[in-house]
Symmetry: C2
Subunit: 324 residues, 2 copies
């Protein structure tokens, strides 16, 4: 990599649960200079995660020095210190001072935040939320999480826990969530829970879900959120019902959040939001019905897809530069 | 009033739905120099409201000049311009440029915001929320509304509509709210709706609510939220059930708001929150159960009571001074 270029290099890192990514770009540019991805091994821990990331970084930088590093981490982080609290997927991350580790190793300032906040920042600066002063980014995938941009800046909450829309209750008589409550948005709208709902209904009523069986045969364990989406698109009634319930739950959650915070925009990402126009129609209609008429907002698809956390990490790195 | 005092005078105004208040204090002090209240006449409109307020002001100031004016208004306001959008209680307030009217009349800077936001600011600067960087103020009275302080400043939302926790849905199969939705927090927890719930149950089941009848005899129209509270305190089963449902609804709404925004504190004011320890116990327990374990917050009673909007108006006036 040429050392002579005048624009400083920004390094963006994304520690996901099962896959990692790293990329570099020149400050102010909107295209990656170089980009690398890697999957975690089956028995990953914090040490192997860090080793994988180091090898991606060295491969990318080839001896160049970044001017700042931004990091998205898939789990709770104290953004003020850059200390990871834990990972829900990978052991050994408890209380790891990630910002300080990387800062010592590379000799530059490092900013770390959790993936939902960083993705919100990414969509705000480089994606669907450009020009929008206030937005909530929501990812609907294996879980349902979110991050806020208010007044153009991340709002993380007093304990860094803001954005947990997945565990707002939208139906107090609804099914039991892993968190112990009934009717959490995540319990009704996440991919694995939609799959579980379809699976359990097919076990009780074997005549239902013929369109789902088309994909998995008798192996009901093989049902995924994506298969539910595809079966719904092809007209399976059960899959449509479950997807409609998911859209309804998401619409109520968004409408409630709109009444509470009145942001300009909700940006939706994650696999479940690729479920097609019916799903989006339900989400938009129910959110509109749930919010008061005077509360305006738009609901738009995320523009950066899986790269939202990396682009948010660029924004974090960039902000470090402007303070230095 | 002596003109010689060196500290400038701040004028605080509270345009309520049925009563108005005005007060002056010396900047930096925490006690009223003088304070006046007045009720609206039965057929009040914007003109009579303004006349009443003018007479309170002239009585207070007696020719002195305030350095700045802060105003709480009981209805939607564009806080950036100080234009009132409307009053839900009093006709004629549509699009009245209140800040500009007062500014011309008194020759000083004027800041206007709606009562929930101003009360939140009042509790933050002078009441239960002192020293707290992020809080939601919630009033549970004839309606259920709220205002946010985030990073020490009011968060009003893109349309000035943030804080409408009363119209978040907490039970999608619940009773119909005036707004057209089912199971809004306000529909389950406001004083008039609690009274309605008790009244309708007594009409259908005349043996119920004997403790309520003790207060109103056969005049079920005379039931109010306060009577429900008092009957509950004295052991009436129906009143207790309705109050417990209100507490449950408020707890779910607060827990959901905690998961979304993670503020340090919820400050509760309004008549319904005077319902006693049982009510508070239910609110706190359900809010704690609804929020994720990692989301910390406290729920505290408002400290300023009916004066919260006036004190918030002082804060608005004070902020005008520091910008001038």
């Amino acid at each position: 990599m040429p050392e002579s270029n005048v624009l400083p290099l920004l390094l963006a890192l994304d520690f996901g649960g099962t896959k990692h990514a790293a990329a570099v770009l020149r400050a102010g540019e909107k295209q990656w200079f170089a980009h690398r991805r890697a999957f975690s091994p089956p028995n990953a821990n914090a040490t192997t995660d860090l080793e994988i990331m180091r090898s991606l970084i060295h491969d990318l930088l080839q001896g160049s020095q970044p001017a700042a590093i931004g990091v998205s981490f898939g789990g709770p982080v104290d953004a003020s210190t850059g200390n990871v609290r834990l990972s829900h997927h990978v052991p050994g991350w408890e209380n790891i001072p990630l910002a300080s580790l990387l800062s010592k190793e590379f000799g530059v300032a490092v900013s770390v935040d959790n993936d939902a906040n960083v993705a919100a920042l990414g969509e705000h600066r480089f994606g669907a939320g450009q020009g929008c002063d206030s937005l909530m980014y929501i990812t609907v995938s294996t879980g349902v999480g979110g991050g806020w941009i208010l007044d153009g800046r991340p709002w993380r909450g007093a304990d860094g826990m803001a954005g947990e829309i997945g565990h707002t209750v939208v139906h107090p008589k609804g099914p039991l969530c892993l968190c112990g409550k009934q009717g959490c948005l995540e319990r009704l709208a996440s991919g694995p829970y939609m799959a579980q709902q379809v699976r359990e209904t097919m076990q009780r009523f074997p005549s239902r879900g013929q369109g789902v069986r088309h994909f998995v045969g008798d192996d009901l364990e093989a049902i995924t959120g994506e298969i539910v989406s595809r079966a719904a698109t092809q007209g399976d009634e059960l899959a449509r019902e479950v997807l409609e319930t998911a859209g309804w739950a998401l619409g109520v959650g968004i409408g409630n959040a709109a009444n509470l915070m009145n942001p300009q925009q909700f940006v939706l990402g994650g696999g479940v939001t690729k479920a097609g126009v019916n799903f989006w129609e339900v989400v938009r209609r129910v959110a509109r019905e749930t919010a008061l008429p005077e509360v305006n907002f738009e609901i738009v698809p995320a523009a950066l897809g899986d790269e939202a956390p990396l682009w948010g990490a660029v924004a974090l790195a960039n902000d470090l530069m402007s303070f230095s």
